[in-house]
């Protein structure tokens, strides 16, 4: 299977991407204040196919918040904190140093240990041991990167998570799930008919999506561990735009039971159908507010499409966006403080981010055909679909607009990204 790989545009750093990556990741920009960190190669590296330090370093670098220092040429490469000669790392301008080790426990088990040390104070900031199977090395490396990220930025992590996306290669559509760094793509569904709108259950165990495999849009829910595809909504007309409530108990969907698209809720098992909006306009693209009390959606009830909200149990809707002639595809940030959506900015469809308290809007992407904004689990990055050289590609931008990434698939179209929750 063709992998996508993040391409690093940043001239300062080229990660050694050795494993089979599917998405090509490209990074540009970066925070003005990047934390200089040395991620020392782990001891016992022969016990793993992949170098944990490289995976960790790539994650940190990709965030734009870290400057990962070159460790090659260092006389001493410690694998635990007692071996660290701090003066050498301070001379390299490191503020933090990570060291670690991989030990084989026999029976196919590995023990991965790591410590994050303050290079100046010579104190430990974090230390972890993980007992894992060999196929959990990458996930463990991402968890280590999340610990480092959290300790040094004060923000929760985002690396040990997955993304779902759709590819179109020739006439075939595929729904894929990959690690957030583009590695380990796994097929969830393939079809010769379109697949759109994947949505993660809040616990990350299921995907809802729309498949046209029966020649009409039907909403399915599929367990990622069980593999069974179950119909969530197959009513007359269109069934589309699934969005989970924060507690996972129900989904908002869009049906065209009458004529126009209207928003309904349905329990996660498919029962208890309830109509939420009743209008003569298009009401679509529902998304729950982070506390589950409201459903935000796109509607052309005022003429041009704008974003509105309605109580999640139904009621009267009120308008949310006033600036710009066309705003659609709302998505709540995990902290509930901001709303990402797509704005038609003079013919260019771009990712916009609105602070809900102040109403201030920032256009984060360049366009011209950006679609499907999706927040990282910590809200610091927004993943979205874009067009690159006439083909669908994925892109990501930090929520402050300073760091940009692109993911390519050399063989086909990539679209409809959805970033899942942190892995347990």
């Amino acid at each position: 299977m063709k992998l996508l790989r993040w391409i690093f545009l940043c001239a300062a750093f080229f990660a050694a991407l050795t494993a089979n990556a599917a998405l090509e990741i490209e990074i540009s920009g970066g925070g003005a204040q990047q934390i200089p960190i040395a991620v020392v190669p782990f001891g016992g590296a022969a016990n793993t196919k992949e170098n944990i330090n490289e995976i960790v370093a790539a994650d940190l670098q990709r965030s734009g918040l870290f400057r990962v220092l070159e460790t090659r040429g260092m006389a001493n490469l410690p694998t635990n904190s007692s071996q660290i000669k701090y003066a050498e790392w301070v001379a390299l301008q490191a503020q933090a140093v990570t060291v670690g080790n991989v030990e084989s426990l026999g029976g196919g088990k590995l023990k991965v240990s790591f410590q994050l040390m303050d290079a100046l104070k010579q104190t430990q900031l974090a230390g972890m041991d993980y007992q894992i199977a060999p196929n959990q090395v990458r996930t463990t490396a991402h968890k280590i990167a999340d610990v480092i990220y959290q300790k040094l930025t004060g923000q929760s992590g985002m690396f040990a998570s997955r993304i779902a996306y759709i590819t179109k290669t020739g006439k075939q559509y595929a729904l894929l799930v990959a690690d957030a760094d583009g590695y380990n793509p796994q097929s969830v569904l393939r079809s010769n008919e379109p697949i759109i709108s994947p949505a993660w259950s809040p616990d990350g165990t299921k995907l809802a999506y729309v498949s046209f495999q029966k020649k009409k849009p039907i909403v399915y829910v599929q367990s990622l561990t069980g593999g069974t595809q179950e119909v969530l909504a197959n009513y007359k007309g269109n069934n589309s735009a699934p969005a989970w409530s924060p507690d996972g108990s129900k989904l908002a969907i869009v049906l065209t039971y009458g004529a126009n698209s209207q928003i309904y809720t349905v329990s996660s098992s498919g029962g208890d159908l309830k109509q939420i909006t009743k209008s003569n306009s298009i009401d679509t693209e529902p998304t729950f507010s982070h506390d589950g009390s409201q459903i935000y959606f796109s509607s052309d009830r005022g003429g041009k499409p704008q974003i509105y909200k309605v109580p999640a149990s139904g009621g009267s809707a009120s308008r949310v966006t006033f600036e710009g002639a066309y705003n659609v595809s709302p998505r709540f940030s995990p902290d509930g403080k901001s709303l990402a959506y797509i704005r038609n900015d003079g013919g260019k469809f771009r990712v916009a981010l609105q602070d809900l308290a102040s109403g201030q809007v920032q256009l984060l992407s360049e366009g011209a055909q950006d679609d499907s904004p999706s927040f990282a689990p910590n809200g610091r990055v927004i993943l979205y679909a874009t067009k690159l050289h006439g083909r669908g590609a994925l892109a990501a931008v930090s929520s402050d607009g300073k760091v940009r990434q692109r993911l390519n698939d050399a063989t086909g179209d990539v679209r409809e990204p959805a970033w899942g929750p942190l892995l347990n």
């Binding site: 204040q33 894992i132 199977a133 393939r190 379109p194 709108s197 367990s223 065209t256 055909q369």
Partner: protein, 191 residues
């Protein structure tokens, strides 16, 4: 680097032992195909965490019927019933006069065959978001349905759906290309 300094000040030595991290392998869907030519769907093997699942079942969920086209007025290229596309103006769901004969022919056929069912599929060009376009395409299919209803076709014979931009010719460079995507297709049950 104030955050960093603060964190240093608050430095804690934390040692967490996570025994046997949970792995969550992804299993692909088993899509059942009810079409006659399809092989029986099998449960797909567990992918296993980290595995690249080349062994995913590629469900043959797209089947086409092989009827005798010559005797079927719906398939006879000389019959107006073989014409299935109705094109629309930009940002419009009005059925234009030049497509009235096509709509009327299908209306007569459906009235004469009250057990025959049809799906009208609305389509849009690729400008705009996918779900919003799905809703826009729906307006076009509903417009065709309303025209058919006026000719006496029963509601139960027609289902209106939308493909939105999914069947659009991508990367249109000109108006002619966009115009081809602003379309409703009529599809008979069993087509």
């Amino acid at each position: 680097m104030s955050t960093f300094s603060t964190k240093l000040f608050m430095a804690l030595a934390i040692s967490v032992v996570l025994v046997a991290c949970k792995s969550t392998p992804i299993k692909p869907a088993t899509v059942e195909d009810k079409s006659p030519s399809a092989s029986t769907a099998n449960t797909t093997p567990d992918a296993g965490a980290g595995a690249d699942t080349g062994a995913i079942k590629e469900a043959a969920i797209d089947s086409s019927a092989n009827g005798n086209d010559k005797n079927n007025p719906l398939k006879d290229p000389n019959n107006i019933l073989s014409k299935r596309a109705i094109y629309f103006d930009y940002d419009s769901d009005a059925v234009k006069a030049e497509y009235r004969p096509i709509v009327e022919a299908h209306g007569k056929y459906l009235v004469a065959h009250p057990d025959t069912k049809m799906i009208v599929q609305g389509n849009t060009d690729e400008r705009g978001t996918r779900e919003y376009n799905l809703s826009l395409g729906q307006r076009r299919s509903v417009a065709v349905k309303k025209a058919l209803n006026l000719l006496g076709v029963q509601d139960k014979q027609i289902e209106t759906i939308s493909y939105g931009e999914e069947k659009a010719v991508q990367n249109c460079g000109d108006e002619d290309c966009f115009a081809k995507n602003r379309r409703a297709d009529v599809v008979y049950e069993g087509d």
